[in-house]
Amino acid sequence: MLDYLLNGLTLGAIFAFIALGYTMVYGIIKLINFAHGEFFMFGAFLGFFVLRDMGVERLPLPQPLPILLSYVVALTAASLGAGALAVLTERVAYRPVRRAGRIAALITAVCISLILQNLAVKAWGAKPQAYPQPREWVDVDALEGTSQANLYGVKRIETTEGGVVENEVRVVAAGEAIDDATRARLRAGGHERVYRQVLLDRGWTRGFVILALLLWAPVLWFLVKRTRMGKAMRAVSEDADAARLMGIDINRVISWTFFLGAFVAGVGGVAYCVSYGKVEPLTGFLPGMKAFIAAVIGGIGSIPGAIVGGLVLGTAESLIPYALREGLGWEAAFAWKDAIAFALLILILVFRPTGILGRAVREKV
């Protein structure tokens, strides 16, 4: 039970990360940014490439600094990349339709989402790829006892075009004992150092995700409530024309909002893929939809609402099927968790369209 609750909260924290971007963009230009899930996916892919190819974890620093550093670099790249993509998308696709009405803008957003998804398929292939798990780069001399996990060495191979690629090869299987003979064999194979998987228990991953949310939420709150740009954002969301008359550069404010929302989604993207162990071009679709549901549950347009909504949805998605399985003996309940999320959305929209923390806005006739 507690396990399911914690799982739900972790998932909820990730939903909250994505929901923040939805809510900020919706708050300011009343657009459901369908492509937000694709910013998330793009961030996840950038993190993937950094973790796999950059070799930050090989830096000659005491452990666990290199591992932490590799994640910091991956998260930074993911956030900045997702933010840049969001700014570009806003400039190229959303700005021209801003005056064309909400439905036209929404259709454009749906199209952008599909286009980005399929471009990702063209660039990186449609197949899911294993997400790099945390690992350390250890000296062969430091290895002893029985190896807990597979050890990988890096082999440099010259390609026919004259370039050099690095291939990872498994040099020691999990459970194999390591003695002087093994070390000698590794050295002979040219492996002075090898990769060792850091076995994290799930508590660590969960802690990391929830901690990241706890760290980010106040930062965002501060940016929106206490800075000049935040004040401008709130002004534009209140009344864009009046804000323009007050000398606020609306385009800059909107770009900044997109950047901030996608920046946070990038963090969520890496966190999501590290916890699920894979990344693919469709990675963004379902979490994106869920995060939108979370934003609506919390009250779209409200930043605390996005966080509350994310946590509520994540918990509900984990605990409701659990209750159905344990209480009613319905074994297949977990396969229906996505349907539960959508049903929750429809219920919220019908009975409390402003969400938990949203405020009612009267529609003028």
């Binding site: 339709v97 199209c111 063209k122 939809m289 609506v296 297949a332 996505d338 959305l345 429809i346 369209p353």
Partner: protein
């Protein structure tokens, strides 16, 4: 030779099925002005309802079973439209879009998780070819027969919907779409008008689903996905929101492009997935009224004849 003939027959039947889907979506999105993104759900409902009856009433003669399964497909989709319509139609604009999209996804998830003996689950299901004996088991004759059925049903649907839009409930619907508050003040019940359009639209989508099931001879829940929804949307936007004959034009353009690209090498065809959302986005920005706008193809021809050469 026969392969070429089969290709073109298949293309025309697909145009017909997409025309049915597009006119029904157009009734809801174009005429009634509701932004509905769950049409693939109704399509799936119809397809699976028809399949279920075909599997469970196999003792009936083929043609009778075919007609009955289409009727059931329409009925089930209409009931689906009613159940989702009554709570959701109080929502507006983008909220309605998301709620209906959620509904479409729920249908797909439900089918994917269904027991294998009932709807086939995630692996899909085979549909008995009950019309094959009528056509003495040749592919060309089967496709010709399906083409005749699809064309007849498209024509019938177009006439029925045209007359509906000219009738009193249809005019009420158009009034509600233009200005809900004003229509309400004139004594029109907006919710009733919208539910009617929704139910009618979903019934026609169900019909398209039933034909699709019999034509394909097998269903895969993954094929009723959001991409298909966007494709239907592209058809109605191309043709012109609110124009019935525009749907036919749009369906022709989209299906012919897709199927012709499908014959090119994979490297070219795979760009279609990027291309069609791009076309839709460009249409929305540069010509949101589509090719025909709210006009019908006959209006255009008449206007063109009348204008001095």
């Amino acid at each position: 030779m026969s392969g070429e003939l089969l290709f073109w027959l298949n293309l025309l039947v697909s145009v017909g099925i997409y025309t049915l889907l597009a006119v029904s979506l157009n009734l809801i999105n174009g005429s009634a002005g509701m932004f509905h993104l769950g049409h693939h759900g109704f399509w799936a409902l119809g397809a699976y309802a028809a399949t279920w009856l075909t599997l469970n009433a196999a003792s009936l003669p083929g043609p009778l079973l075919f007609v009955l399964s289409l009727l059931l497909a329409m009925a089930v989709a209409a009931i689906g439209g009613l159940t989702i319509g009554i709570p959701c139609l109080r929502l507006r604009g983008d909220y309605l879009a998301i709620a209906t999209l959620g509904f479409g996804e729920i249908i797909r998830i439900a089918v994917q998780n269904s027991p294998e003996g009932f709807l086939g689950g995630s692996l899909g299901i085979k549909v008995p070819r009950i019309l094959m004996e009528v056509t003495r088991a040749t592919q060309v004759r089967f496709r010709l027969l399906m083409l005749a059925i699809v064309v007849a049903l498209c024509a019938l649907t177009l006439v029925v919907l045209r007359n509906f839009l000219r009738s009193s409930p249809g005019r009420r619907l158009l009034a509600v779409a233009q200005d809900e508050t004003a229509a309400g003040l004139l004594g029109i019940n907006p919710t009733r008008s919208k539910v009617l359009a929704f139910v009618l639209g979903s019934a026609v989508a169900g019909l398209a689903g039933g034909i699709y099931a019999h034509y394909m001879g097998g269903l895969d829940p993954k094929s009723f996905n959001f991409m298909e929804m966007v494709k239907m949307f592209l058809i109605i936007v191309l043709g012109g929101m609110g124009s019935l004959s525009g749907c036919v034009v749009g369906a022709f353009l989209v299906v012919v492009t897709e199927q012709l690209l499908n014959r090119t090498p994979e490297a070219i065809y795979s760009w279609w997935q990027v291309l069609f959302p791009l076309i839709l986005a460009l249409m929305i920005v540069f010509r949101p009224q589509g090719i025909l706008g709210r006009r019908e193809i006959m209006d255009v021809i008449r206007a063109w004849r009348r204008s001095p050469a």
